[in-house]
């Protein structure tokens, strides 16, 4: 089959459809760059969506739990080996993504006789100022881009993802507290899960802090902490 280019393209197309089908029902994750640090939020069951990778690095993802875990372990291993062999300052998202993670994802996606990663991910790196923060959107096929607006959402549907990102960017104000930012993310999460038209979605009078039957996972890579470990779970009240 793979000797014929057409068949190979067809197989790749089938894999995209398969992954898209598998991702249905997966709920979005968020990363927002703020003066206090990078806020990350996901809604899942226990520790399943938002993770610490290294001193200044976080990871949030949706997809198959096993694939999320494989990607998480790969990122943690690469970061720690790099940090040990050189220094923690040499652990950068650009190198992690370019040399360790995106190549693995691309290879996995194109090896059509082995299962692909079913995962959509966000990686974050804290800078000294919000302008120096790095937010990276990494797709299941290794494709990735660096987001410069300070707001990044990963969702199963790319069109919804783009609309939701625009909505959140529009609603966030510089003076917003972390609790309000988390509340806006959570309200948007609910609207996306409910399939609402985001163009008509208004900010609720009372922002949610919980989701019935689910765990809201919130973390802050805190710019104010002296380090070296700046990632910490955040409790939103």
């Amino acid at each position: 089959m793979t000797e014929e280019p057409y068949r190979w393209l067809e197989a790749i197309g089938n894999r995209r459809e398969y992954i898209s089908e598998q991702m249905k029902g997966a709920t979005p994750v968020f990363a927002v760059s703020r003066p206090e640090g990078i806020l990350m939020l996901g809604v899942g069951i226990g520790h399943s969506k938002v993770f610490e990778v290294y001193d200044r690095h976080g990871f949030a993802a949706l997809g198959h739990p096993v694939d999320i875990e494989k990607l998480r372990q790969a990122a943690i291993e690469a970061a720690h080996v790099e940090g040990f062999n050189r220094s923690s300052k040499d652990v950068t998202l650009r190198r992690l993504i370019s040399f360790a993670l995106s190549t693995t994802l691309k290879s996995s996606f194109e090896q059509i006789f082995s299962p692909p990663f079913i995962v959509e991910a966000i990686f974050t790196e804290l800078g000294e100022t919000p302008a120096q923060d790095s937010l990276v959107r990494l797709h299941y096929d290794g494709h990735h881009h660096y987001e410069t607006s300070g707001v990044l959402i990963a969702a199963a549907d790319r069109k919804v993802e783009a609309e939701a990102s625009a909505w959140l960017r529009d609603k966030l104000k510089p003076e917003d507290s972390l609790a309000r930012v988390a509340g806006l993310c959570l309200a948007l999460w609910q609207a996306m899960v409910d399939g609402r038209t985001l163009g008509e979605f208004r900010v609720p009078d009372s922002l949610p802090t919980t989701v019935s039957g689910k765990t809201v996972e919130t973390a802050l890579i805190d710019r104010r902490l002296p380090g070296p470990v700046q990632y910490r779970p955040l409790e939103i009240k």
């Binding site: 520790h47 290294y54 372990q73 720690h80 040990f84």
Partner: protein, 251 residues
């Protein structure tokens, strides 16, 4: 499941140190000690020596391994710093990959294993490390800080009251032994400010008898490195705090 950083390392190429014998006397980090007070104190001077030469008087010998454990080094700094770095990475790698901090007994054993693996350096007498470990179980508000000292081959011993290592530790242990019996208050009953002052006085005493101990000079605002181990985590006592405690003790 893979939370063992030591098992991960052989998969990668790590630069190896050369094997040529040095032409200068080996470096030694000197006096460090730890004793229990209200929380548990660990302290050290800043001196590293090479033979009768003062190599550095600004050496940080109390290494924070993670938010709940410390290692104080005496002996060969090259080996000791590398052990410290290995443990720092191992503990954090385990915590992140396994969603839980490594237990205190495992941390204590990890240092023991590194010392055991340094057997060749220890036998040659050129890479000997005799560290002190102080830590408290993470995520357990009722946990008590513990102090361990090691022989260079890796045997671990819990210190009930205090531990000392390095060339000046003999004087310090003598004074602490005296205070444990007849002190009022005993070191274990001291507040943080009292224990901080005592730690500085101990180093001043050790420096009287041991040229390799840097000592402290309050008049020049040169104080010991002092870190507290408590259930909430590690806290460094800053120079400003030490100066304040010192002045209060003199009134």
């Amino acid at each position: 499941m893979n939370g063992d950083f030591l098992a991960l390392l052989p998969k990668t190429v790590i630069p190896q140190a050369g094997s040529n014998a040095p032409s200068v006397p080996p470096l030694h980090a000197t006096t460090v000690f730890a004793f229990h007070c209200a929380d548990g104190v660990i302290a050290g001077d800043h001196r590293a020596t090479a033979g009768n030469i003062v190599f550095s008087d600004k050496t940080e010998k109390i290494l924070e391994l993670d938010s709940h454990s410390l290692m104080a080094i005496a002996g060969s700094p090259a080996t000791a710093f590398e052990m410290g770095r290995m443990l720092q990475t191992s503990f954090e790698y385990y915590r992140r990959s396994q969603f839980q901090p490594m237990s205190l007994p495992a941390k204590i054993r990890a240092l023991s294993q590194l010392l055991r693996n340094n057997l060749a350096g220890t036998i040659q007498g050129f890479g000997v490390v005799a560290p002190i470990f102080a830590g408290v179980e993470a995520n357990d508000p009722s946990a008590k800080p513990q102090i361990y000292f090691y022989d260079p081959l890796g045997a671990q011993f819990e210190a009930t009251n205090y531990a000392g290592s390095g060339s000046g530790s003999g004087s310090i242990k003598s004074v602490l032994s005296f205070l444990e019996r007849w002190g009022q208050p005993k070191p274990a009953e001291m507040s943080v400010s009292q224990a901080t002052v005592l730690a500085n006085r101990l180093l001043m005493t050790a420096a009287e008898f041991d040229t390799a101990t840097g000592g402290v000079h309050p008049e020049k605002k040169l104080f010991a490195t002092i870190k507290l181990v408590a259930p909430a985590g590690i806290r460094s006592i800053s120079v400003a705090e030490q100066e304040q405690f010192w002045k209060e003790s003199m009134q």
